[in-house]
Structures are given as C-alpha cells and as structure tokens.
C-alpha cells in the first residue's frame, strides 16, 4: 500500500486535513478472542451474561475499539508517513458500544501542527480521531498526537 502512494511528511499534515479509512467489520469471533486475551469481563465474553448487563448484549472491549481505530489510522495515513510513534493520547471516550458485525470507519482530523524546536527533522501533529459505525454514530472519540518526519531539506 505504502509503495504505491506518495510519502506524507509533516508539512503535508496541516490543520483541517481529514484522513479516512474503512470499513472494518468486527466479527463475533474476533471480539470474543480479544476479550479472552486482554479484557475477560462477562459483557465482552458471554452472550447470555452480557444480555443481563446494561449493554443488553455482547460488546467489544474498548481497548479493541481503539485497536481497530489505530489499525484504520495506519491505513488512512500513518502508514505513508515517516512515523516516529506517539508520545500519548490526551483523552479517549467510548461513546457507543461496538457490537458484533459492526462496520467501523475512521475519520482523522488534524487540528494542530508543531515542528520540533530541538529536533529539526521532525514535528508533532495533534488530531481528533473518530471511529464511526455503520449508522454514522461516533463510537470512539480520541484526542491525541503523532510524531512525523519532515520533508528532507525542509528544516530551517
């Protein structure tokens, strides 16, 4: 994928630019397998037990939802950048449960671009990342940042 598309540098990731990817269909087996490994709570594991919770049925671990969002972020644009990882995430809200069979897409909006003062080859961009379901509802909203390489020769 990355070989067929142009590399994106920090300079290309400007406030207001939107990247999208998806859909990713979360199957029941994958939902349960993740929960078994990383979040074995009844409402992520067991249909009958989940039916008795306020969620009314099986829902994905929120950590799986952010994992799917991350995968789509990589597909949307990070896979084409000189990615230097991320210092962190300021806020995540799980706004709607993600359920088996949901078709999930990512919408990533750049809100700020900050070239590094100390390291002229890189900079940080801040984003609002959203995981949207098949009904257009935002299931996960995340505010965070990524570090990206600058276009060679562009540093001042």
């Amino acid at each position: 994928m990355s070989a067929t598309k142009e590399t994106l540098y920090l300079e290309d990731i400007v406030p207001g630019r939107i990247f999208t990817a998806g859909p990713y269909v979360l199957e029941r087996e994958e939902l349960i397998a993740f929960a078994r490994d990383y979040d074995p709570q009844p409402f992520h594991l067991d249909e009958a037990a989940a039916a008795k919770t306020p969620y009314g049925g099986l829902i994905a671990s929120g950590w799986q939802s952010v994992g799917i969002l991350m995968r789509l972020i990589v597909e949307a644009f990070v896979g084409r950048t000189i990615s230097m990882g991320s210092p962190g995430v300021d806020e995540v809200r799980w706004l709607k449960p993600v359920r088996p069979g949901d078709r999930l897409s990512a919408r990533v909006t750049c809100v700020e671009q900050i070239p590094s003062r100390s390291k002229p080859d890189r900079g940080i961009c801040k984003f609002v990342y959203e995981l949207v379901n098949q009904d257009g509802e935002v299931a996960v909203r995340m505010k965070g940042m990524g570090m990206f390489g600058r276009r060679p020769g562009s540093a001042t």
């Binding site: 709570q41 671990s61 994992g67 995968r71 995540v92 809200r93 799980w94």
Partner: protein, 158 residues
C-alpha cells in the same frame, strides 16, 4: 464469582490500590497484536525494526494498554460490580516495551463521584502506571471505571 461478595462503588475508597503483574512480553505476541491492530514495521518486522529509531522490535502502545487491562481484570475488576468505562485521560508512553520485558501494573483511586445521570451507579478515577522489570514506568494514564452502587439492605463485605 458467585461465591464471593461483590465490591460496589461504595467499597472503592480514594487511596484504594490495585496491583497486578508478571506479564511476560514475547516477540510472537507483539507481532500478532500489531499485525491486527497497529501494523507499523517497528511493531511487526524484527529485522526492519532494527533500523528504526527504536533499534529493535517494540510493542504497540495499544498492546501495552491491552496487557495492562488484562492485569487489572485479573487483579481486581472481576471482584467488583464493574459496569465498564466511559474512557480514559492523559495516556503517555514513556519508553518502549520490548520482547522479554516483564510488566506489572499499579493503580490507585484518586477521585470518585456518584453518577448524576444514572442513579445507582458511580465512577472512580485511577492513576494507573505500567512498569517494566527494572521498575521503570513505561506508560501511565488516568483510567475511569463505572460501578454499581450497593443495593439497599445488602451487607458490606468483610
């Protein structure tokens, strides 16, 4: 689970600590997680990762978060009347997690409030840290849990 008394929102005091640990990180698990959820080469390709700024394979930060969740569930959540979480705040990744690392988690309740919108429930905020075998904090965040409140008439656990 049925044989134990549940811990409700009332039973989680500010200062309540929870700990877990002993999670051994393997290259195979790093690659399996990242192949699905964070397919960047420094998480999926040990050879290519050597040439990255990290100098070798490192775990996805989201994999570290997932391993943290498992340690918390094993250590604490399954004893409580947990209703899940609305989200988390201020997550920071301080240093890479590599194959062979042994992770632990420590979490302390720093704030709690009854829910305004959902009677019978309350939330707690926890300052949560993931550490490696050298005692270095590799990740920290504020986790948020929602819990059922104790139904009237039910005894407190001893």
């Amino acid at each position: 689970m049925r044989s134990r008394k549940l811990r409700y929102w009332e039973d989680i005091a500010i200062g309540t600590k929870r700990e877990g640990g002993g999670k051994i990180v393997t290259a195979a698990e790093i690659i399996a997680f990242a192949s699905k959820y964070d397919p960047q080469y420094f998480h999926t390709d040990p050879k290519a990762a050597e040439k990255s700024i990290y100098g070798g394979l490192i775990a996805s930060g989201w994999h570290t978060a997932a391993m943290m969740m498992r340690m918390l569930v094993d250590g604490f959540n399954n004893d409580t009347a947990s209703l899940g979480s609305p989200g988390f705040d201020t997550l920071r990744w301080y240093m890479p997690v590599r194959p062979g690392d042994i992770l632990s988690v420590r979490s302390v309740c720093v704030d709690k409030a009854p829910s305004q919108s959902r009677p019978g429930t309350g939330s707690c905020r926890f300052q949560t840290e993931v550490l490696n075998q050298k005692g270095e904090v590799v990740m920290s965040l504020i986790t948020i849990g929602m819990y059922r409140r104790r139904p009237q008439g039910e005894e407190t656990p001893t």
